[in-house]
């Protein structure tokens, strides 16, 4: 049986979301959820993997509630989780601008922006909580941008027509993360959180069908240890690094979620990846990562390419009437602020037509000349100064004088572990929050919504819903290292590490990662086709086989060994990539970030097939290289009725 001959299993249903009016569901769920007596909470241990916006806020909040939290991150400090790199802002339906915003509009925009592939209950809850997040962050001292009157400033982001994005210059993620990190630090000092930095989760321990702990490696000593708990929360982020080149941090990885998937957690919509339209184009083969330029730049920058193919004149020599401001032309009402998937694909299209700019024709201009004329250089500097500096540092070009060159790059993964309304995976006691789960963004995430979701999950949703699980399972049998299941998981982990070290081949972990990434970008990137995906699915097992034959990892397992860390992560990418391609192959519609060349409207827009694909695809693992089982969760739209998205 080949990998593509997958079986379709029983549908998966979200049993936790209450019925009733959408705006009452969260209240209802919170009321129905069982509580744990405050005095009993310290008897419960919760493992949290990751310290980004979701993990950091969850760890701090659970500890504040009285739980004993054991938390992990691979970085040397919880403050360095990659949420820190988010630039633009965080959405909240505060309606401080009195511009017609409301919880319902944020809900509507998010469901529509996600191309009708997200759950209404979840998205509505997210919109409701958004306002509390801003309150919480301000109370923590997050220095949001303010106006002269001392009140909070907001700006617009892609895919919406209201100004609801709160920001802290171009470093919103940093400031929000530091807020969560500081709250977490307070709990570490109080002894409520046991923090393990430079420790990477390598496997999940499932005993009697419940998540009971993890296997983790101390990255300094190489020691592999087991940690036990009453519940495990994965907040380990997305899997964009499958593509090798992405805006993710170099060490962001999929190991925690992939290992959980292998242990029984369903993986939903793996092919839903977001290609961000405004990244700095790559300069050569040495490129190790791509750098994002915040979407907020599209507020004032105008995107264009020359009208003529192969026009190599420098930008200032191209007269106004020979420029094609293609987003403003095709989408007059949203203009440069169309959602990310649309902006990215449009950039790809003009480059494919041979009108791209810069080396290799892989770029479009993002021009601030008009903004500088209109607002003055000073105002532009105040708004975007740090982004312009960053651009100049990387490209050695001055964006105040020469238009920026941008090109799409892998940025975010909407797919992830399948979770119910309580954010619980299909393994009881295993929760997934933030980018690690699949829940709220459907097939495309709107700008400034990742920060919102990460913090909503961590500060408010999980701390409410995990109570229910713990209250219903108050006295779980203690698990020790001697338990046969634990011994087995431990042995598997050690075997894998030993094998990686033993092969002693002739190729580096990076070379495999790069090869896989190029393959994925070509066939499972911005545009996907049946033929391309089949090619990728044929190639991936070959790379995997070659990997285990030719990988070279110097050093030993009992020391700080960055090659070993890397190789171990590539092992999981090589399996996850296959599932992503299969998911992309099976979904023969186009929706959001998933664009199937076979499914487009006559004018080249994505064509959804709601009758066939209005579901989340949750995949169940069988065995490496063996076809997984597909479980569908049907999506019901009672409030926002699916229409072809129109931003024209």
């Amino acid at each position: 049986m080949t990998y593509t001959d997958y079986a379709t299993g029983a549908p998966v249903t979200d049993t936790k979301a209450p019925f009733g009016p959408v705006h009452e569901r969260w209240d209802k769920r919170r009321f129905e959820a069982k509580l744990v007596n405050p005095a009993n909470r310290r008897k419960h241990t919760v493992i949290v993997v990751g310290t980004g916006l979701a993990g950091g806020s969850a760890g701090a909040t659970l500890a504040e509630q009285g739980y004993h939290v054991v938390q992990f991150c691979y970085q040397d400090s919880p403050r360095r989780a990659h949420s820190i790199a988010a630039q633009g802002g965080i959405n909240a339906a505060k309606n401080y601008r009195n511009d017609g915003d409301s919880v319902h509009r944020l809900f509507y925009d998010t469901v529509k922006g996600g191309d009708f592939r997200a759950r209404e209950s979840n998205v509505h809850r997210l919109a409701q909580i958004s306002v509390e997040i801003i309150d919480q962050c301000v109370a923590q001292g997050v220095p949001f941008a303010r106006e002269y009157g001392g009140l909070l400033d907001t700006r617009s982001f892609g895919g919406v027509q209201v100004s609801r994005t709160f920001y802290a210059r171009g470093q919103t993620g940093q400031q929000l993360l530091l807020g969560a990190y500081q709250a977490l630090s307070r709990q570490i000092a109080a002894g409520n959180v046991e923090m393990h930095p430079r420790t990477e989760m390598l496997d999940l321990i499932v005993v009697d069908g419940r998540a009971r702990g993890i296997v983790a490696r101390d990255l300094i000593t190489g020691k592999i240890d087991t940690y036990f708990a009453d519940a495990v929360v994965l907040a380990s982020g997305g899997y964009g690094n499958v593509f090798y080149l992405s805006t993710n941090a170099m060490n962001s990885n999929a190991t925690a979620i992939w290992r959980a998937h292998r242990r029984g957690a369903y993986f939903a919509n793996p092919c839903f990846t977001q290609i961000h339209p405004t990244c700095i184009p790559r300069t050569g083969d040495h490129q190790s990562k791509l750098t994002l330029m915040s979407e907020s730049l599209r507020n004032d920058g105008r995107i264009w390419v020359p009208k003529a193919k192969g026009d190599t004149r420098p930008p200032h020599r191209i007269p106004e009437d020979e420029r094609d401001y293609y987003l403003e032309r095709i989408y007059p009402s949203f203009g440069n602020l169309v959602p990310r998937d649309i902006a990215s694909r449009a950039a790809k299209n003009v480059c494919d037509e041979g009108r791209g700019v810069g080396p290799g024709g892989q770029g479009v201009y993002l021009d601030f000349a008009d903004a500088i004329k209109r607002m003055g250089r000073k105002a532009v500097e105040a708004k975007y100064g740090n982004l312009f500096d960053m651009y100049q540092r990387i490209t050695d070009e001055d964006p105040y004088e020469v238009p920026m060159r941008i090109y799409p790059a892998v940025h975010y993964t909407m797919g992830g572990l399948w979770v119910d309304y309580d954010l619980q995976t299909t393994i009881p006691g295993l929760f997934a929050i933030g980018e690690a789960n699949f829940s709220d963004h459907g097939a495309n995430r709107l700008g400034a919504s990742a920060l919102m979701q990460g913090l909503a999950d961590g500060y408010f949703v999980l701390p409410a819903t995990i109570n229910d699980y713990l209250a219903r399972n108050p006295h779980q049998d203690p698990v020790t290292e001697q338990h046969p299941v634990v011994q087995e998981v431990l042995a598997e982990t050690e075997d894998r590490i030993n094998l990686l070290l033993a092969v002693d081949g002739d190729r580096t972990p990076d070379s495999f990662h790069r090869e896989l990434g190029e393959l994925m970008w070509e066939f499972c990137g911005m545009a996907r086709s049946d033929a391309g995906l089949r090619k990728a699915l044929e190639r991936i097992p070959q790379i995997r086989e070659e990997f285990w034959r030719r990988i070279k990892v110097p050093g030993t397992g009992e020391e700080f060994n960055q090659s070993l860390e890397k190789a171990n992560r590539v092992v999981d990418y090589l399996e996850l990539a296959e599932l992503m391609c299969l998911d992309a192959l099976h979904r023969t519609e186009s929706c959001g970030g998933h664009f199937r060349e076979e499914s487009q409207t006559p004018d080249g827009e994505a064509a959804r097939k709601d009758e066939e694909f209005s579901y989340a695809a949750a995949w169940e693992f069988t065995s490496t290289g063996e076809a997984p089982v597909l479980h569908k969760e049907d999506l019901v739209f009672e409030y926002v009725h699916p229409t072809q998205r129109s931003y024209a």
């Binding site: 806020s57 701090a60 909040t61 504040e64 040397d76 400090s77 403050r79 360095r80 820190i84 505060k94 401080y96 309150d135 962050c137 301000v138 109370a139 923590q140 001292g141 220095p143 949001f144 941008a145 303010r146 002269y148 001392g150 009140l151 909070l152 802290a168 470093q171 400031q175 530091l178 500081q182 709250a183 630090s185 307070r186 570490i188 000092a189 930095p197 300094i220 941090a249 170099m250 060490n251 300069t283 040495h286 190790s288 990562k289 750098t291 960053m390 540092r393 990387i394 050695d396 500060y459 408010f460 701390p463 002739d506 580096t508 990076d510 070279k552 110097p554 050093g555 700080f560 960055q562």
Partner: protein, 249 residues
């Protein structure tokens, strides 16, 4: 470009270290400094040697992981993080010395990787505002004058990389500590813990074995985020104020 690299190699915390010399070729001026080290490491792995260990993650200048002293300068010749330093800042044929942060509070773990957990403990001592989740008032309940918000932001930009400590001849952590003290102490939300915050954080900074400040200004020169030297002055003022207030109680 062809370069000669002299890199600090140290097997682990307990081992003796020394500089080792390597050659790299075909370096593009568009590469970042870390991409140049990637080239070296690929070369080393294939020749059966252990690659050079160094901390890095986001590679866009914000996570604060990268931490190399390049030709005697923390983060190298430009005012930026190591990951945002590009090879166009060097010339073909250059010899480049690469060393780890040096401070007794930042012990070397391996090669160019050091342990900066002392910074985390300084934050844990008081670098936060006590605002348990759910307890927050409406965000607009307390307006913050723009000047104060901007002052807070300027200090909140600190990425905790430790370049200030590495550059300081005394291995002092004053700039790091003052950045957080000033960020939180200027905000109305931070006012209730204003005194205990600065006293506790300075006490923890001392306990970690960082040196004292002699106002050489090296920290602010090395800081990739441009935290100003005056930050230390402001913290001193906060500390004196807190000490006086504590004395009166």
């Amino acid at each position: 470009m062809k370069l000669t690299l002299r890199v600090w190699r140290q097997k682990n915390a307990g081992a003796e270290g020394a500089m080792s010399t390597y050659e790299v070729d075909d370096i593009s001026p568009d590469m970042s400094f870390l991409e140049m080290l990637d080239v070296l490491n690929e070369q080393l792995i294939l020749s059966g040697e252990e690659p050079v260990a160094f901390d890095h993650d986001c590679r866009e200048g914000i996570c604060g992981a990268c931490s190399l002293v390049i030709n005697g300068d923390a983060h190298g010749p430009e005012r930026t993080t190591t990951c945002q330093l590009h090879m166009r800042s060097f010339k073909d044929g250059d010899t480049i010395d690469i060393e780890p942060w040096r401070a007794s509070a930042f012990p070397v773990i391996k090669d160019l990787v050091v342990d900066r957990s002392a910074f985390d403990r300084i934050i844990q001592a008081g670098g936060y505002i006590t605002a348990p989740t759910g307890a927050a008032p409406e965000a607009h309940a307390t307006p913050v004058p723009k000047a104060d918000a901007d002052f807070a932001f300027e200090h909140a930009e600190c990425i905790g990389c430790g370049a200030c400590v590495a550059a300081c001849p005394n291995g002092a952590a004053m700039l790091f500590t003052s950045a957080k003290v000033n960020h939180l102490n200027v905000l109305p939300q931070g006012a209730p813990e204003r005194e205990s915050r600065v006293l506790d954080m300075v006490a923890q900074m001392d306990a970690e074995g960082f040196g004292g400040c002699t106002l050489t200004g090296e920290c602010a020169t090395a800081c990739p985020k441009g935290i100003p030297l005056m930050s230390i002055t402001s913290m001193n003022k906060e500390w004196l104020r807190a000490t006086r207030k504590a004395g009166k109680r």
